[in-house]
Symmetry: C2
Subunit: 136 residues, 2 copies
Protein backbone atom coordinates (compact mmCIF):
# COMPACT_ATOMS: atom_id res chain seq x y z
CA UNK A 1 0.00 0.00 0.00
CA UNK A 2 1.11 3.55 -0.66
CA UNK A 3 2.64 5.57 2.15
CA UNK A 4 1.41 9.08 2.93
CA UNK A 5 3.34 12.17 4.02
CA UNK A 6 2.26 14.45 6.86
CA UNK A 7 3.33 18.09 6.64
CA UNK A 8 3.33 19.63 10.12
CA UNK A 9 1.23 22.79 10.51
CA UNK A 10 2.83 23.83 13.77
CA UNK A 11 4.31 22.62 17.05
CA UNK A 12 3.64 22.53 20.78
CA UNK A 13 5.32 24.88 23.22
CA UNK A 14 5.06 23.33 26.67
CA UNK A 15 6.89 23.19 29.98
CA UNK A 16 6.79 19.38 29.55
CA UNK A 17 10.27 18.43 28.39
CA UNK A 18 10.58 14.85 29.54
CA UNK A 19 8.49 11.87 28.45
CA UNK A 20 9.11 10.04 31.73
CA UNK A 21 7.51 12.91 33.62
CA UNK A 22 4.55 13.41 31.25
CA UNK A 23 1.10 12.49 32.64
CA UNK A 24 -0.64 9.63 30.81
CA UNK A 25 -3.69 11.64 29.81
CA UNK A 26 -4.54 15.30 29.91
CA UNK A 27 -6.79 15.16 32.92
CA UNK A 28 -4.02 13.90 35.16
CA UNK A 29 -2.61 17.39 35.67
CA UNK A 30 -1.08 18.29 32.30
CA UNK A 31 0.04 21.90 32.03
CA UNK A 32 -1.29 24.68 29.88
CA UNK A 33 0.61 25.04 26.62
CA UNK A 34 0.87 27.11 23.47
CA UNK A 35 0.16 25.83 19.99
CA UNK A 36 2.37 27.61 17.47
CA UNK A 37 1.10 27.41 13.91
CA UNK A 38 2.86 28.30 10.66
CA UNK A 39 1.80 31.42 8.77
CA UNK A 40 0.63 29.15 5.96
CA UNK A 41 -1.87 27.47 8.31
CA UNK A 42 -3.19 30.83 9.50
CA UNK A 43 -6.41 31.06 7.44
CA UNK A 44 -7.50 27.69 8.81
CA UNK A 45 -7.43 29.03 12.38
CA UNK A 46 -9.73 32.00 11.87
CA UNK A 47 -12.78 30.54 13.62
CA UNK A 48 -11.10 28.98 16.64
CA UNK A 49 -12.73 30.46 19.74
CA UNK A 50 -11.61 30.85 23.33
CA UNK A 51 -13.73 28.80 25.72
CA UNK A 52 -14.37 25.95 23.31
CA UNK A 53 -12.84 22.49 23.14
CA UNK A 54 -11.01 21.09 20.15
CA UNK A 55 -9.31 17.84 19.26
CA UNK A 56 -5.63 18.33 18.55
CA UNK A 57 -3.81 15.77 16.41
CA UNK A 58 -0.05 15.61 16.88
CA UNK A 59 2.83 13.48 15.70
CA UNK A 60 4.44 11.72 18.65
CA UNK A 61 7.91 11.97 17.18
CA UNK A 62 9.68 10.24 20.04
CA UNK A 63 7.57 7.10 19.73
CA UNK A 64 8.73 3.58 18.92
CA UNK A 65 6.88 2.64 15.74
CA UNK A 66 7.71 -1.07 15.96
CA UNK A 67 5.50 -1.54 19.02
CA UNK A 68 2.41 -3.70 18.56
CA UNK A 69 1.84 -4.88 22.14
CA UNK A 70 2.40 -3.10 25.44
CA UNK A 71 2.11 -3.64 29.16
CA UNK A 72 -0.13 -0.76 30.37
CA UNK A 73 1.41 0.94 33.39
CA UNK A 74 4.38 -1.41 33.05
CA UNK A 75 2.52 -4.31 34.65
CA UNK A 76 4.55 -7.34 33.55
CA UNK A 77 2.39 -9.76 35.59
CA UNK A 78 -0.22 -9.76 32.82
CA UNK A 79 0.00 -10.67 29.14
CA UNK A 80 0.81 -7.80 26.84
CA UNK A 81 -2.12 -5.85 25.39
CA UNK A 82 -2.57 -5.21 21.70
CA UNK A 83 -1.53 -1.61 21.11
CA UNK A 84 -4.75 -0.67 19.30
CA UNK A 85 -6.60 -1.22 22.60
CA UNK A 86 -4.36 1.30 24.37
CA UNK A 87 -3.36 4.96 24.11
CA UNK A 88 0.31 4.08 24.18
CA UNK A 89 2.35 6.65 22.27
CA UNK A 90 4.42 3.74 20.91
CA UNK A 91 2.44 2.41 17.93
CA UNK A 92 2.92 2.00 14.18
CA UNK A 93 1.57 5.44 13.28
CA UNK A 94 2.00 7.59 16.39
CA UNK A 95 -0.69 10.20 15.81
CA UNK A 96 -1.50 11.75 19.18
CA UNK A 97 -5.10 12.70 19.93
CA UNK A 98 -5.68 15.34 22.60
CA UNK A 99 -8.84 17.06 23.66
CA UNK A 100 -7.97 20.55 24.93
CA UNK A 101 -9.81 23.73 25.90
CA UNK A 102 -8.82 26.91 24.06
CA UNK A 103 -7.93 29.66 26.51
CA UNK A 104 -6.96 32.34 23.97
CA UNK A 105 -6.22 32.86 20.29
CA UNK A 106 -3.58 35.38 19.21
CA UNK A 107 -2.95 35.13 15.47
CA UNK A 108 -1.07 31.90 14.87
CA UNK A 109 -0.57 31.30 18.62
CA UNK A 110 -3.27 29.41 20.51
CA UNK A 111 -3.17 29.00 24.30
CA UNK A 112 -4.72 25.75 25.53
CA UNK A 113 -5.43 24.07 28.84
CA UNK A 114 -4.44 20.55 29.78
CA UNK A 115 -2.18 19.24 27.03
CA UNK A 116 0.03 16.26 27.78
CA UNK A 117 2.26 16.59 24.70
CA UNK A 118 5.97 17.30 25.02
CA UNK A 119 7.57 20.59 24.05
CA UNK A 120 8.36 20.58 20.32
CA UNK A 121 5.75 17.98 19.39
CA UNK A 122 4.63 18.58 15.79
CA UNK A 123 0.99 19.46 15.16
CA UNK A 124 -0.83 17.69 12.34
CA UNK A 125 -4.46 18.85 12.56
CA UNK A 126 -7.15 20.49 14.68
CA UNK A 127 -10.79 19.38 14.63
CA UNK A 128 -13.90 20.56 16.45
CA UNK A 129 -15.41 18.28 19.06
CA UNK A 130 -18.69 16.67 17.98
CA UNK A 131 -21.55 16.33 20.45
CA UNK A 132 -21.87 14.59 22.84
CA UNK A 133 -18.61 15.80 24.35
CA UNK A 134 -16.05 13.20 25.19
CA UNK A 135 -12.55 11.87 24.78
CA UNK A 136 -11.19 13.52 27.89
Amino acid sequence: MTDFVLHPIGWVESPLQDRAAAPKQGDEGAPDAWLRFTEAAGPGLRDLTAGTDVLLLTWLDRADRDTLTVHPRGDLSRPATGVFSTRSPDRPNPVGLHRVTILAVAGTRVHVRGLEALDGTPIVDVKPVLDPIGDR
Copy 2:
Protein backbone atom coordinates in the same frame (compact mmCIF):
# COMPACT_ATOMS: atom_id res chain seq x y z
CA MET B 1 9.95 21.33 9.83
CA THR B 2 10.47 17.68 9.04
CA ASP B 3 7.75 15.75 7.25
CA PHE B 4 6.53 12.39 8.58
CA VAL B 5 5.48 9.27 6.72
CA LEU B 6 2.37 7.26 7.53
CA HIS B 7 2.45 3.55 6.76
CA PRO B 8 -1.11 2.25 6.35
CA ILE B 9 -2.03 -0.70 8.59
CA GLY B 10 -5.12 -1.66 6.60
CA TRP B 11 -8.05 -0.36 4.58
CA VAL B 12 -11.81 0.04 4.70
CA GLU B 13 -14.17 -2.27 2.82
CA SER B 14 -17.50 -0.47 2.48
CA PRO B 15 -20.50 -0.26 0.19
CA LEU B 16 -19.80 3.50 0.10
CA GLN B 17 -18.09 4.10 -3.25
CA ASP B 18 -18.91 7.72 -3.96
CA ARG B 19 -17.90 10.79 -1.94
CA ALA B 20 -20.91 12.77 -3.16
CA ALA B 21 -23.23 10.16 -1.68
CA ALA B 22 -21.36 9.74 1.64
CA PRO B 23 -23.13 11.01 4.77
CA LYS B 24 -21.36 13.87 6.55
CA GLN B 25 -20.96 12.08 9.85
CA GLY B 26 -21.45 8.50 10.98
CA ASP B 27 -24.75 8.99 12.72
CA GLU B 28 -26.47 10.18 9.54
CA GLY B 29 -27.00 6.62 8.32
CA ALA B 30 -23.54 5.39 7.39
CA PRO B 31 -23.36 1.70 6.56
CA ASP B 32 -21.66 -1.12 8.37
CA ALA B 33 -18.20 -1.82 7.00
CA TRP B 34 -15.21 -4.12 7.35
CA LEU B 35 -11.79 -3.02 8.47
CA ARG B 36 -9.12 -5.13 6.77
CA PHE B 37 -5.77 -5.07 8.52
CA THR B 38 -2.38 -6.30 7.33
CA GLU B 39 -0.90 -9.45 8.86
CA ALA B 40 1.88 -7.29 10.26
CA ALA B 41 -0.66 -5.26 12.27
CA GLY B 42 -2.28 -8.43 13.62
CA PRO B 43 -0.71 -8.54 17.11
CA GLY B 44 -1.96 -5.02 17.78
CA LEU B 45 -5.56 -6.13 17.27
CA ARG B 46 -5.60 -8.94 19.82
CA ASP B 47 -7.66 -7.14 22.47
CA LEU B 48 -10.29 -5.51 20.26
CA THR B 49 -13.69 -6.65 21.55
CA ALA B 50 -17.11 -6.89 19.94
CA GLY B 51 -19.60 -4.52 21.53
CA THR B 52 -17.08 -1.80 22.34
CA ASP B 53 -16.45 1.51 20.62
CA VAL B 54 -13.14 2.57 19.16
CA LEU B 55 -11.77 5.62 17.39
CA LEU B 56 -10.59 4.80 13.89
CA LEU B 57 -8.03 7.06 12.22
CA THR B 58 -7.95 6.96 8.44
CA TRP B 59 -6.22 8.78 5.62
CA LEU B 60 -8.77 10.61 3.47
CA ASP B 61 -6.84 9.99 0.29
CA ARG B 62 -9.28 11.77 -1.99
CA ALA B 63 -9.03 15.03 -0.08
CA ASP B 64 -7.79 18.40 -1.35
CA ARG B 65 -4.84 19.26 0.90
CA ASP B 66 -4.66 22.90 -0.20
CA THR B 67 -7.96 23.73 1.49
CA LEU B 68 -7.78 26.10 4.47
CA THR B 69 -11.30 27.56 4.44
CA VAL B 70 -14.62 25.96 3.51
CA HIS B 71 -18.30 26.76 3.24
CA PRO B 72 -20.00 24.14 5.46
CA ARG B 73 -22.91 22.54 3.62
CA GLY B 74 -21.98 24.62 0.57
CA ASP B 75 -23.62 27.75 1.99
CA LEU B 76 -22.00 30.53 -0.04
CA SER B 77 -24.13 33.23 1.61
CA ARG B 78 -21.77 33.25 4.60
CA PRO B 79 -18.04 33.90 4.85
CA ALA B 80 -15.86 30.84 4.58
CA THR B 81 -15.00 29.02 7.81
CA GLY B 82 -11.45 28.18 8.84
CA VAL B 83 -11.00 24.49 8.13
CA PHE B 84 -9.74 23.67 11.64
CA SER B 85 -13.21 24.59 12.94
CA THR B 86 -14.84 22.03 10.64
CA ARG B 87 -14.71 18.28 9.94
CA SER B 88 -14.21 18.89 6.23
CA PRO B 89 -12.23 16.04 4.68
CA ASP B 90 -10.39 18.68 2.64
CA ARG B 91 -7.61 19.97 4.95
CA PRO B 92 -3.82 20.08 4.99
CA ASN B 93 -3.38 16.71 6.68
CA PRO B 94 -6.56 14.76 5.95
CA VAL B 95 -6.56 12.32 8.85
CA GLY B 96 -10.13 11.06 9.28
CA LEU B 97 -11.45 10.44 12.78
CA HIS B 98 -14.36 8.05 13.15
CA ARG B 99 -15.98 6.63 16.22
CA VAL B 100 -17.39 3.18 15.42
CA THR B 101 -18.84 0.24 17.31
CA ILE B 102 -17.14 -3.13 16.81
CA LEU B 103 -19.64 -5.78 15.76
CA ALA B 104 -17.22 -8.68 15.35
CA VAL B 105 -13.51 -9.50 15.19
CA ALA B 106 -12.26 -12.28 12.90
CA GLY B 107 -8.47 -12.33 12.81
CA THR B 108 -7.37 -9.30 10.81
CA ARG B 109 -10.94 -8.50 9.74
CA VAL B 110 -13.05 -6.28 12.01
CA HIS B 111 -16.74 -5.64 11.34
CA VAL B 112 -17.93 -2.21 12.47
CA ARG B 113 -21.16 -0.25 12.58
CA GLY B 114 -21.69 3.24 11.24
CA LEU B 115 -18.55 4.17 9.31
CA GLU B 116 -18.76 7.03 6.81
CA ALA B 117 -15.43 6.32 5.08
CA LEU B 118 -15.27 5.34 1.41
CA ASP B 119 -14.34 1.89 0.19
CA GLY B 120 -10.56 1.58 -0.03
CA THR B 121 -9.80 4.32 2.50
CA PRO B 122 -6.45 3.59 4.17
CA ILE B 123 -6.40 2.94 7.92
CA VAL B 124 -3.74 4.64 10.02
CA ASP B 125 -4.55 3.79 13.63
CA VAL B 126 -7.15 2.51 16.09
CA LYS B 127 -7.51 3.88 19.61
CA PRO B 128 -9.85 3.07 22.51
CA VAL B 129 -12.47 5.63 23.47
CA LEU B 130 -11.75 7.42 26.75
CA ASP B 131 -14.56 8.13 29.19
CA PRO B 132 -16.82 10.07 29.04
CA ILE B 133 -17.96 8.70 25.67
CA GLY B 134 -18.27 11.13 22.85
CA ASP B 135 -17.28 12.16 19.34
CA ARG B 136 -20.27 10.65 17.64
